[in-house]
Every structure is written in structure tokens, then in C-alpha cells.
């Protein structure tokens, strides 16, 4: 047992660090480090710079144009990127549909989509949830009927993150309404410009417009846009849900946010002293810091198991639960640190708004499989209950 990084891993860290330091645009960096909202353009700009370096798809194997990094290198890359204030890359192409396409897609799909995901030419969104199907995803109703050399899609998806920017949406649709729930679902790649698609924003409680309803009315999708076999979509969806490994806990970003919390607490004053010197508040920061430290090591255990090709299983659910609890605790403390002035939600649209962040981060325990669903998974698969 050894908890230190190898010399090669440390050299890799240095290389990533100097790249990020030299290439990350200063305005993007400033926005991240100050906790302000990134624009879609920020993500794209940074993704293109990575692409030019050959790192456009940091988690992909060499075969598909990735750098071929192992789990530990990916982890180091994300840690260094987050620490320096790089924006998170959009996961929908890189971490979700990309791996599905290179694992189950046709050669034509690989050729057409993978290079464009890597180069940031195409943005993607994920079309799974529906008004009646959230936690119980397999009950989804959006219908795709086979007609000639394609499908006609009708139905509604909801809560779709960044649908307004997406060139493509990957969707779970029902192709066989008679089969048992999981067995009648197919996985389609749909061009967002196809006639019959309407995107309508859903405003979240922090005033943000990051999620949308997406309506499909007689939308024609060529059959070559189906991934894998008809009615086997659930298998690919499950593969995808379990695919994102190294980052689900969000440790790298939380470490950066912890630094920001400390910075805020050192700026604020209580009883004439910096808030960070207040024993009660300092203890609360310490509690999160310690939780995060433990999570980091738990995360590394999972990551190194993957390095040794032992596939990480349901412990990923544990990372998701603890990771999101820590993310939420950090925004809560930033809000409390600001005290009564945190009440001003919109007093400076361009500045960090801790109350807005606190509201927005409530989403993390709801999306990506709610924390209750993660607990169900753990109790079923790890505890055998």
C-alpha cells in the first residue's frame, strides 16, 4: 500500500500544470476563481485550446483520438485543471455519448461524431428524463415508430441541460411499446435542427436558464442514427450511467471551492476579527475539509482499482452521494459566511452570488440519479438487502 504518486505521475502533473497555466485565458480563469457563471462560449474556447494540444477528449483511448490516459492521469488532469480555474468540460459529448458511440456505435457514427465531439465542433445534450419518468427512467414514453428508413419521434423530454446550445441530443425512446419496460427502448442520436423539435427554457429558482423542455412532434430520424440494436437501448444507457468514474465525486472542484470559502471567510469580519478566526465557523469549515479529504482518498481507492482493471462498481454511488453533500455544504457555508449581505441575490449580476449558488446546487442531489436512488443501489448491490 502506498498513497503517494509515482515520479511519472508527478511529472505528468507538472506537464498539465504548466500547460493550463500558460494557455488558460485570463478572463475565463478569473470568472471561475471568483465563482461567477461561465458562458457556453467559455467552455468551448477552453475545449478548443485543449484540442489543439491533443487533449480534446482527455478520457478517451488513443484509438479514438484520446490521449490514452489511465484513470490516475485523468484524475490528475481534472485536479490540475480545476485548481487553476479551468472550466469543466461539457460532459454530454465527452463522457456520455462519446464512449457509447465508440463502444457500441457503427463505423459511420464513429467517423461522423467522435472527431466533432473532440474538437468541440458539436455540443451535445442528454435526453433521458420525461415529465412522468425521472427516477423511474425505464417507464419513458417518448415514442419512435419505424417508418421506411427512419423513425418518427413523438413525445417530450424535460430538465434537459444546455439543450439550447446543443447541436445533437442523444435520446432514449420507446420503439416497442409491447415489450417489458427496459426491453423496448432504443438509443437515438438526433440533430437538434430537425423540424418538429421545440426547446423551451425552464427557469430555475436562482434565475438561471440551464435546463429545458424539449418537444418532439413527428421528428424524422434516419435509422443510421440509432446506436446499436433496436430495443437494446437500455443496455447502452446503463453502460453510460456507470461510465463516468473519476469525476463523479467532484473532488477537484470542491477543493478549489473550499479555498474560495476560506478566502470569503477571511474577508468577512465578526466581532472585529476575520470570520475564519471565529472558532465556531472555523470548525464548520474544518468539518467539510476533513470530509473532503476522506472523500479524496476514497475516490483514489476507486480510481486505482480501475487502474488495476478491477471495474469499479456500485461504490461510484457512494462517491456521488458524499461528493454532492460536500458541494452543497460548501455553498451553504459561503452563503452563511457572507451573512445578511448574502440576501442580495441580484445586486451585482456579474459578481459571485452565494445565495444563488446555494439555491442552484440543490440540483446535485437530484440529478444524475438522485441520492435516494443511489442509496437504493448501494443497499441492493453492496449490502445485498
Amino acid at each position: 500500500m502506498d498513497l503517494s504518486f509515482t515520479p511519472e505521475e508527478n511529472a505528468f502533473r507538472q506537464a498539465v500544470r504548466s500547460f493550463v497555466q500558460s494557455r488558460l485565458p485570463a478572463d475565463i480563469q478569473k470568472r471561475t476563481l471568483e465563482g461567477r457563471k461561465q458562458t457556453h462560449d467559455d467552455y468551448k474556447r477552453w475545449h478548443r485550446l485543449l484540442y489543439e494540444q491533443g487533449w480534446g477528449a482527455p478520457t478517451w483511448p488513443k484509438e479514438y483520438g484520446g490521449p490514452g490516459w489511465g484513470a490516475v492521469e485523468q484524475y490528475i488532469f481534472e485536479e490540475e485543471s480545476a485548481a487553476a480555474g479551468a472550466p469543466l468540460l461539457s460532459p454530454f459529448g465527452l463522457k456520455m455519448v462519446g464512449p457509447v458511440i465508440y463502444t457500441f456505435g457503427s463505423d459511420a457514427q464513429k467517423e461522423r461524431f467522435l472527431p466533432r465531439i473532440r474538437s468541440a465542433e458539436h455540443s451535445w445534450c442528454q435526453g433521458y428524463s420525461e415529465p412522468g419518468s425521472g427516477s423511474d427512467l425505464a417507464s419513458l414514453k417518448t415514442r419512435a415508430e419505424r417508418r421506411g428508413d427512419g423513425y418518427v419521434v413523438n413525445g417530450q423530454k424535460t430538465w434537459i441541460t444546455h439543450a439550447q446550445y446543443a447541436d445533437y441530443i442523444f435520446c432514449l425512446v420507446r420503439t416497442d411499446p409491447k415489450a417489458k419496460q427496459q426491453q423496448g427502448i432504443s438509443f437515438l442520436l438526433i440533430d437538434m435542427k430537425t423540424p418538429g423539435i421545440t426547446v423551451r427554457p425552464i427557469v430555475t429558482m436562482d434565475g438561471g436558464k440551464e435546463i429545458n423542455e424539449v418537444f418532439f412532434e413527428d421528428v424524422h430520424v434516419p435509422v443510421e442514427n440509432r446506436v446499436g440494436e433496436e430495443n437494446a437501448g437500455w443496455t447502452y444507457a446503463k453502460f453510460l450511467l456507470g461510465h463516468e468514474r473519476t469525476n463523479i465525486a467532484g473532488v477537484a472542484v470542491s477543493k478549489r471551492e473550499l479555498r474560495r470559502l476560506k478566502h470569503i471567510a477571511s474577508e468577512e469580519r465578526k466581532n472585529g476579527k476575520p470570520l475564519i478566526e471565529d472558532p465556531a465557523f472555523a470548525a464548520r469549515i474544518a468539518q467539510v475539509e476533513i470530509d473532503l479529504w476522506a472523500l479524496e482518498i476514497t475516490n483514489l481507492r476507486v480510481v486505482s482499482a480501475e487502474k488495476e482493471k478491477r471495474a469499479p462498481g456500485p461504490e461510484v454511488s457512494l462517491l456521488k452521494i458524499k461528493g454532492t453533500e460536500i458541494q452543497q455544504a460548501l455553498t451553504e457555508l459561503m452563503m452563511l459566511a457572507r451573512g445578511p449581505s448574502a440576501l442580495g441575490l441580484l445586486n451585482d449580476a456579474d459578481a459571485f452570488r452565494p445565495a444563488a449558488a446555494y439555491c442552484n446546487l440543490r440540483k446535485t442531489s437530484i440529478y444524475g440519479g438522485s441520492n435516494e436512488i443511489q442509496k437504493n443501489i448501494i443497499s441492493r448491490t453492496i449490502l445485498g438487502l
Binding site: 428524463s129 425552464i202 435546463i211 442580495g344
Partner: protein, 375 residues
């Protein structure tokens, strides 16, 4: 010991609840929230008609002279309906301050207009960086001619954009004094914005604002103790408002869990969620108990004993606000995150109430220090 309301109180409580249910339905509230002023003058007038703006007005001016239980009942309704009108700020805090400190002339001029809903008065006391310390006042009132000149900054003055008059605290020599300042007085500038819970607020800058002697409220230098003491009344009212919102949010969440189906059954049948809603209920009941206590003791004369009650109540209620708010959003799933649906509005109001008049940490510490002194 008696937890029963009198018949009149019962009727008042019922009529407030009916008013809120009828006149402040969520869809109607949305329109008010989006409106230019962010509050409804019509609703305000209606509250005046019901006599609710006069609960703190002295009896000789036609009011009820304090009426802690009635105030609690009114605040319950304000909380349940998520009223955006400045009830707490104007009808409770400012009116109580004027009752305690105002001259006969000031009272005679203002109380009838305030009770009738024709004038809104808001306290502008908190300053940047003061956190929850009410004694930190740097705004200065210096003698100028026959009166004073006020300069300084006040932060997050909720409802300031709707106020006709601001009650501005400022240092005069060694003490703190209160001044009535019209919103449009020369030298007053408001940087307005929305708060977390959709209210209009402003950071107020005063530069050389002239105030005549008739604008001074109470004796010169004698306002701070009264401001601290009225803060206790505000805490009791805020706790009662929170209880109204907490009860509504718990009820809404339970109803949602009975109607929302996943995996072929209502999500309320999952024990994992049932126990969480039971925890919410325990928070609500504990909060309600402490809200009663706070309201009943809000005119207690032993100030240290009263401060202990208020801190204890604010701690229990603050924790309830956070727990019940967060759990409600979680149990509503994606729906809980939206502007469209009422759960998030309760969540935000409860979060704002926790941050008002001292947050949970602040009162926990205050209670601990107060207890140490008391033994």
C-alpha cells in the same frame, strides 16, 4: 397553562388564512412578484381594512398597542401565503419603533396613514460589514444649522424601494439616534435589487442628507436600546412567519408525495421518504412551540431573559427553515428546482428568514454566552 386562543383571536386567525387562500393564490402572487414594484398596493390596502396594519399602533391611535398573539397569527398567514408586502418591515418593526420612540406629533401624523396603508416606513439600520451586530453604526448625524446632516451607508434595506419614509439610525456624539428621512430627500440614493426571496431591497447611501429637529425620533442618542429591543419583536414575528411557511411547505410536500408516481406507486410510499417527512414534521412542531414562546415573551420586561428566549427560538426555527426547505426541494425532485412551482419559493423565503435578525450560528453563540452569564 393555556394554549388556547380566545374566540376573537380564533376569528382573526381564520380571516387571515381565508384572505391569504382567496386573495394570494400562488398564480396571483406570481403576477405581483413580476410587477414593477414587486408588491401589491391593493393587497396592502386590504390588510389595512382588516385592521392588520394597526396591531402595533397604540390604542389611543385606534390600534391594538402590541398584541403579540394577534401579530403571531397575522405573521403565520403572511408566511403561509408568502406575502411580498412589507408587513414585517413596516407594520411590525417600524410601527413598534415609532410607538416606543415617536413624539406625539410624529405619531399623530404617521399612525393613521400607516394603519390605513397609505404610508410605508422601513428601518434602515444594518450597515456593510456589521454582520448581525446591531451596535455597529458608523452612519453619522452631525449638527447642521437647526438640525442635522446624515452621511453613511445602509445595506440590504428590504422594501426600501417601496418606502415613503426611512427610519435611519445614525451616530450623534456618543449615542445612536433615529431619523425619519423621506425616500426622495436630497442626498439619499438607493441602489435597488432583488433579494434571494424575490423582494425588492436597496443599499442606501446618505450623503449630507439634511434632517430637521422634527425628524429626530426619540431623544438624541437614546435609540440603540430600543432598536435592540424591537429586534426581539422582529424575531418573534419572523419566527411566526417561518412557522406559517413551514407548515404550508410540509403540507405541500406530503401532498406531492401522494400524487407523484414513480415505479408505479406514489413516491410517498417509499419509507426512505416517509421518515424524512416525519423529521420535517418534528422540525415544524418544535418551531411552532418556540414561536409561541417567542411571541408570548416579546413584551417581557427582563431583557436578558427575553434575549435568551429569542435566541433559542431563532435557533430552533432557523434549523427547521434549513432542514424542511432542503428536504422539500429534494422530495419534489426536478420540480423543486423550478421558479414555476411554489416549493422553491418557500425554500428561498425560509432561507432568507434564517439569514434575517441573526442567523442560527449567531443566536446559538448568543444563547451560550447569555446562559454562561445567567448562571
Amino acid at each position: 397553562m393555556d394554549f388556547d386562543l380566545t374566540k376573537e383571536q380564533q376569528q382573526l386567525g381564520d380571516s387571515i388564512q381565508r384572505f391569504v387562500a382567496r386573495e394570494y393564490a400562488f398564480e396571483k402572487r406570481k403576477g405581483i412578484l413580476r410587477s414593477e414594484e414587486g408588491m401589491s398596493r391593493e393587497v396592502w390596502a386590504h390588510l389595512a381594512e382588516m385592521g392588520l396594519l394597526a396591531l402595533q399602533v397604540p390604542e389611543e391611535h385606534g390600534g391594538m398597542g402590541g398584541a403579540p398573539i394577534e401579530t403571531m397569527l397575522a405573521m403565520n398567514g403572511v408566511g403561509r401565503g408568502l406575502l411580498l408586502e412589507p408587513y414585517l418591515a413596516s407594520a411590525v418593526v417600524a410601527t413598534t419603533l415609532l410607538r416606543e420612540l415617536g413624539s406625539p406629533a410624529q405619531q399623530g401624523e404617521l399612525f393613521p396613514a400607516m394603519a390605513a396603508g397609505e404610508r410605508i416606513v422601513v428601518l434602515a439600520h444594518d450597515e456593510p460589514g456589521a454582520r448581525y451586530d446591531l451596535t455597529q453604526v458608523s452612519t453619522k448625524a452631525t449638527r447642521a444649522g437647526d438640525g442635522y446632516a446624515l452621511s453613511g451607508q445602509k445595506s440590504v434595506v428590504v422594501h426600501a424601494p417601496s418606502a415613503d419614509l426611512l427610519l435611519v439610525s445614525a451616530r450623534t456624539g456618543s449615542g445612536v439616534s433615529l431619523f425619519l428621512v423621506p425616500w426622495d430627500a436630497k442626498g439619499v440614493s438607493l441602489a435597488a435589487y432583488r433579494t434571494l426571496d424575490g423582494r425588492r431591497a436597496a443599499d442606501v447611501t446618505l450623503s449630507e442628507v439634511r434632517a430637521g429637529r422634527e425628524a429626530l425620533v426619540g431623544a438624541e442618542g437614546a435609540a440603540l436600546d430600543v432598536i435592540v429591543s424591537v429586534n426581539d419583536v422582529a424575531i418573534a414575528a419572523a419566527c411566526a412567519e417561518a412557522v406559517g411557511a413551514l407548515e404550508a411547505l410540509l403540507q405541500t410536500t406530503v401532498e406531492y408525495s401522494k400524487s407523484r408516481k414513480q415505479f408505479g406507486v406514489p413516491i410517498g410510499t417509499f419509507q426512505a421518504l416517509q421518515h424524512r417527512m416525519v423529521e420535517m414534521l418534528i422540525h415544524v412542531e418544535q418551531a411552532k412551540s418556540m414561536s409561541y414562546l417567542a411571541s408570548l415573551r416579546s413584551d417581557e420586561k427582563d431583557l436578558q431573559a427575553r434575549a435568551r428566549v429569542m435566541s433559542a427560538a431563532k435557533v430552533i426555527v432557523g434549523r427547521a427553515c434549513r432542514n424542511v426547505g432542503q428536504e422539500a426541494v429534494q422530495i419534489h425532485g426536478g420540480m423543486g428546482m423550478t421558479e414555476e412551482f411554489h416549493a422553491s419559493h418557500y425554500f428561498r423565503r425560509l432561507a432568507a428568514l434564517e439569514l434575517s435578525f441573526g442567523d442560527t450560528e449567531h443566536h446559538l453563540e448568543k444563547f451560550a454566552l447569555n446562559s454562561a452569564e445567567a448562571t
